[in-house]
Amino acid sequence: MQRIGVFVCHCGTNIAATVDVKTVAEALGHEPGVVISQDYQYMCSESGQNLVKNAIKEHNLTGVVVCSCSPRMHENTFRKAAASAGLNPYLVEIANIREQCSWIHKDIASATEKAIILGKAAVAKVHLNAPLTAGESPVAKRALVIGGGIAGIQTALDIAEAGFEVDIVEKNPTIGGKMAQIDKTFPTLDCAACILTPKMVEASQNEKITIHSFSEVTDVKGFVGNFTVTIKKKARFVDETKCTGCGLCTEKCPMKKVPNEFNMGLDNRTAIYIPFAQAVPKVATIDPNYCMMMKTGKCGVCSKVCSVGAIDYKQEDKFIEQKYGAIVVATGFNPIKLDKYDEFAYNQCPDVVTSLELERLMNAAGPNGGTLLRPSDKTHPHKIVFVQCVGSRCDDSKGKPYCSKICCMYTAKHAMLIREKYPDTEVYVFYIDVRTPGKNFDEFYRRAVEQYNVHYIKGMVGKVTPRSDGKIDVQASDLLANEQLHIDADMVVLAAAIEPDKTARPLATMLTTQMDTNDFFTEAHPKLRPVESATAGIFLSGACQGPKDIPETVAQASAAAAKAIGLLVKDSITCNPCVAHSDELMCNGCSSCEKVCPYGAITYTDKEFKMPDRTIAVRRVASVNPAVCQGCGACTVACPSGAMDLNGFSNSQIMAEVDAICK
């Protein structure tokens, strides 16, 4: 038999002025199971709490109902009070008779009547409350960072700084990502390599950080604090532990006509290669698609010249398995492919380039040693047209609906750098809008216009036509002057939209995290939890969550690190006990619940059951991982048989409330 205590708070006059608290206490005292019903001036005060605690002990209460302010205000207060008196804190229910009653009603009679009904509902619910215990789950003290660009590097460094082991998984032979390809950074125009490469070295030298370059995540199991991840270390045919990065092999390799991805295919590399001089790890990699030895079995030059015997043509992919407490996704972005943009003649004319290609063309370590030359004839361009929003803010299926955010600023940077270095070059920028929010950004853009005389024209480029004289005809509209323009350009630079890396979607599936329709990872809350995914223990760093510039990326990377550290520093995590659970005897194994779970908390196992007809049957049944479940209850409604229920908000509890209210 239940022994329930009801405690009605006056809240000074906040409640008592419009609700007749004595009548409420009296009425609730007649409810079945209620053994004590009291009112008090301030229930949340120490003496009020003592009233509750003493009643719990004295009357051996099995449930407590506090009629007071919103549970969002003092539910925890009274739960703690109950716990200190030896009653399970989840046997406390709050009837909200202040915010949802006394404060909104003026008529004492109807407010009192409503307060009684709300109290009855809470009593009806508490009858069915079960004691709940928050479970604990241990935390593996190691983080995984997926992606070794500036976001991943920064996150890893910050986590390592806090004293935790971090692994970086990078799919390319070197970490560094897009930032390594960039020449200068806006708005300060400092050299990207100068600020990035020290961080790369720092990461490689930090003993807490392990870099798995040329590797991929192939499987993720487990949940927050307890992920088991399989990492594929792709065969690079060079023993990483032996290679000193001397580079002799890359000099001697006879296969020299391999498009160099690092320079956006603007020059060539050898079949055995180190992506760039400051690569980390500085280890050679053999490209099996081009290596003569691998393709024909005849060559072996690199093996002969390698003094440490690091070359291993027979090397195979290796899989390693590691436990992690937290995972940070930093998979970054890529410019979109421009194949569909025939109007810009990108595929027809080598002098129509993307902005990232321009970065390489202007970079001292790039194909032309830093001198800006047209790719077609290696001559100096005198007129350059920049086209903004190529594929960004696009309504059609060719492009992306969103703003890529960084293009306005890097185009201003490119324009400014070109005008600075080659004052005889005319620069035109066609834009829809110039978007420069950010510290010192608008000043930067204005400098480009005012100091460097870059011609900014509001309008879209309609067609780019390479001419036989080597010039490029750019046909565009000037929306402000309302006229059609033709510009004889030497080069055209396209600000291609950026999109999440292609590896992000399969990764999201493995991680059971959510993505938006553009394949950007979805944050747990767009305002308040911007660096966490909805899946506990998975954090988001950098452009995988949305377009970002470098300072924003680094800020988010550090924020993600802080969140990960906050998790790793705990020995175990306390789970919310108000989670879903499945009654195996009723579960159909139909997977409906799994489909609506935003956290991937539900898994299925085949289990043997003694069936009602005395037979033994193997049935597929759902189980909820209480450490992962956040208790939304979506599964409880998706479940047709009612096998899935939610602690603290069970079907019977909610229906008891409905009944009491409608009584």
Partner: protein, 339 residues
């Protein structure tokens, strides 16, 4: 015999319904028939029988037994029983008329079911002889003559007139009450109709079904028969057969919490249901085979065993046409028949 011309049926119904509630089989839109409370203009159905049996009149699908009123911690018991009003059921077929005899054996033997008795006392059953039996009919198997139905009073139609015959005082009282509308008539044509009906009954496809292999003393022969597995294999475990059956009399008693009280009610239950006769320890019949067997053993063995050889089936054929998978007592009897 007293008779009334068929074209004066309306006047007859008006007369009966003037003094008490009258129920007659009436057509539904879909071509089937059901008992309806007579209202002016309503026509007597030509259908052989109603989809639902006539047992509802005495043993409705749900009925409240007692109320409990709850106020705070107090519970008050409220007796809700009332005397039933008088009513007439007109046009009951021979099979359904016999079903009342079977239900009486259950509900009127000690301890008497006062709810049932109340309605039984106040209801007058006026039967109607069949003239066009269907292929699903096998009332003859249980000694029922469709051309000579039981009931408080019986009616016979020769196509032009309806003849009345009282079987007991209640029936006589009923005929007396409408005697002003009746006239004495010649039964020569009627006798011919009845003879013809009996001829047809003999030719029906199920006319040969025999109860010889069944009865109270045949428990051991049938209980462990291997045939049950195959017979029950495709049974869906629904309650259609039991709910359309005029003799199935099992019920469950449940409490319904209205929020301010409890209504204790009883409702039909079905032995085909997995929670039938479920008790604290669980369910005595765990498989559909056992539940299926229960239904037919009850009708063909247990019931006769307890009721001087009377079978718990009247051969109305409703389960034959309504079972979703067309498994029925005839198929069971044929399979279990000892040749």
């Amino acid at each position: 015999m007293l008779k009334i011309s068929i074209d004066k049926l309306d006047a007859l119904f008006e007369a009966i319904s003037a003094s008490q509630t009258l129920y007659i089989p009436a057509d539904r839109e879909d071509g089937s028939a059901e008992y309806k409370k007579y209202e002016s203009g309503m026509k007597l159905s030509n259908a052989l029988n109603t989809v639902r049996s006539a047992k509802d009149f005495f043993f409705p699908q749900t009925e409240n037994l007692v109320d409990f009123k709850m106020e705070g911690k107090n519970i008050e018991v409220i007796d809700i029983r009332e005397e039933s009003e008088d009513f007439v059921i007109f046009g009951v077929r021979a099979c359904d008329a016999r079903s009342f005899t079977i239900l009486d054996k259950v509900f009127l033997s000690e301890p008497v079911d006062s709810f049932y008795k109340n309605r039984r006392d106040h209801g007058t059953v006026v039967t109607m002889a069949c003239t066009r039996p269907a292929e699903t009919c096998f009332c003859g198997t249980f000694g029922i003559d469709a051309a000579a139905p039981e009931g408080d009073a019986a009616c016979y139609s020769d196509g032009e007139s309806i003849f009345f015959e009282a079987h007991n005082d209640k029936g006589q009282k009923f005929i007396d009450s409408i005697s002003s509308l009746l006239e004495e008539g010649d039964t020569a044509k009627l006798d011919a109709v009845r003879d013809k009906t009996r001829e047809i009954l003999k030719k029906l496809p199920l006319a040969g079904i025999s109860t010889e292999s069944f009865g109270g003393d045949k428990l051991m022969e049938h209980f462990n028969s291997e045939k049950w597995a195959e017979l029950s294999e495709s049974c869906l475990g629904c309650g259609t057969c039991t709910f359309v059956c005029p003799t199935c009399q099992c019920y469950d008693i449940k409490d319904f919490n209205t929020g301010h009280g409890i209504k204790r009610f009883r409702c039909w239950d079905s032995c085909m249901y997995s929670d039938f006769t479920k008790m604290a320890h669980g369910n005595p019949r765990l498989t559909q085979l056992e539940r299926f067997r229960q239904r037919f053993m009850h009708k063909l063995v247990y019931f006769p065993s307890n009721n001087n050889g009377e079978f718990g089936c009247v051969g109305c054929g409703r389960c034959l046409s309504k079972c979703p998978i067309s498994m029925n007592i005839v198929k069971v009897m044929k399979a279990l028949e000892v040749k």
